[in-house]
Symmetry: C2
Subunit: 163 residues, 2 copies
DNA sequence: CCCGTGTATGTTATGATATTACGCAAGTCA
DNA sequence: TGACTTGCGTAATATCATAACATACACGGG
């Protein structure tokens, strides 16, 4: 109880939802506005990612959300799966961590390039249509049908490289 | 004893070794020929990767090498680290697995693209200088100094897509 | 020859990341 | 109503990776 009117944390997240299946279970009263309204868990997880200034691991998210009642890894992983499917979060394969999308929701995920600083932990997300096109051509030549593409560069960011 | 002349397993792996530090500990009698001669563990691990037709996990390697006396994950991970450093093996970040290099040892690792079939498990390695150049330009614009670059596409290979 | 240094090894224990299996609750729709 | 879908909660387990410590061998200088 005390769920319909609880102004302290206001999980009012909603996204544009290119995968708009519409019905998505009980929504705990979030304000739906054209896009998909996130559930409480999804909104909590996205909130952590958005206010972090670096990628966060699933267990990092879990620890951050224990005060909110999140207790098991699965609750985090399930929310992450959904957020990634919606394009509002990304998984960084090379460091087993997650970030919120820095753009307006990545729908063409194939051209998303991440630059991960190994010193300060900063993750910069960029879209590069040309790289995307080249990889697409490469796949076409190999008759490969790509579903998900990961491009991650690890090194030093501008600040840490001192340039 | 019986170390200098032991023809039964003949771990005669040797690579071109762009990181030629020369002296690299006791080599169990491998035939060094200009490049770096691998140690027994390194040679065993590389052997598993080379004869596999798909990426292998570290624990898969471990299981495969138990008959040869390998017992602990660390023995495998250490060998893998060295093989990757030498450019004769690669780590596939998105599936936590390893493959032997399909080229003649990747020295410019930045342009290596992997196409991973999610149905049959096949991993195809390609070098794409153009993609590499684009990513390099992108990094330059962002003043980012890349150390390692991962490019992995997951989807369906030509055979599995039925094209 | 002895010894310091670098590299590889072997073993145990632990940490970090991710999934399976089960049951339940709530909304949608015929 | 009843089948179906989606999400939630919990416990247990699976999978992936590293820390810490001790030992062994090659090399080269003193
Ligand atoms: Zn994005
Ligand atoms: Zn940095
Ligand atoms: Zn290669
Ligand atoms: Zn296939």
């Amino acid at each position: 109880m005390a769920d319909a009117a609880k102004p302290d944390l206001a999980h009012g997240h909603h996204v544009q939802g290119h995968a708009a299946h519409d019905h998505q279970g009980h929504d705990h009263g979030g304000a739906r506005a054209g896009g998909v309204t996130l559930t409480r868990n999804q909104s909590l997880v996205l909130g952590i990612l958005e206010k972090a200034d670096a990628p966060v691991t699933a267990y990092g998210i879990l620890d951050a959300l224990r005060p909110e009642g999140i207790r098991a890894p699965l609750q985090v992983y399930r929310a992450l799966d959904k957020l990634i499917e919606l394009g509002v979060a990304h998984r960084l394969e090379s460091i087993n961590a997650f970030v919120s999308c820095q753009h307006d929701g990545c729908h063409d995920v194939a051209g998303t390039v991440f630059m991960l600083c190994e010193k300060c932990g900063h993750a910069e997300e960029m879209a590069d249509a040309e790289t995307s096109a080249h990889l697409g051509a490469l796949a076409l030549m190999a008759r490969f049908k790509p579903a998900r593409t990961t491009i991650e560069m690890r090194g030093l960011c501008a600040a840490c490289a001192g340039t």
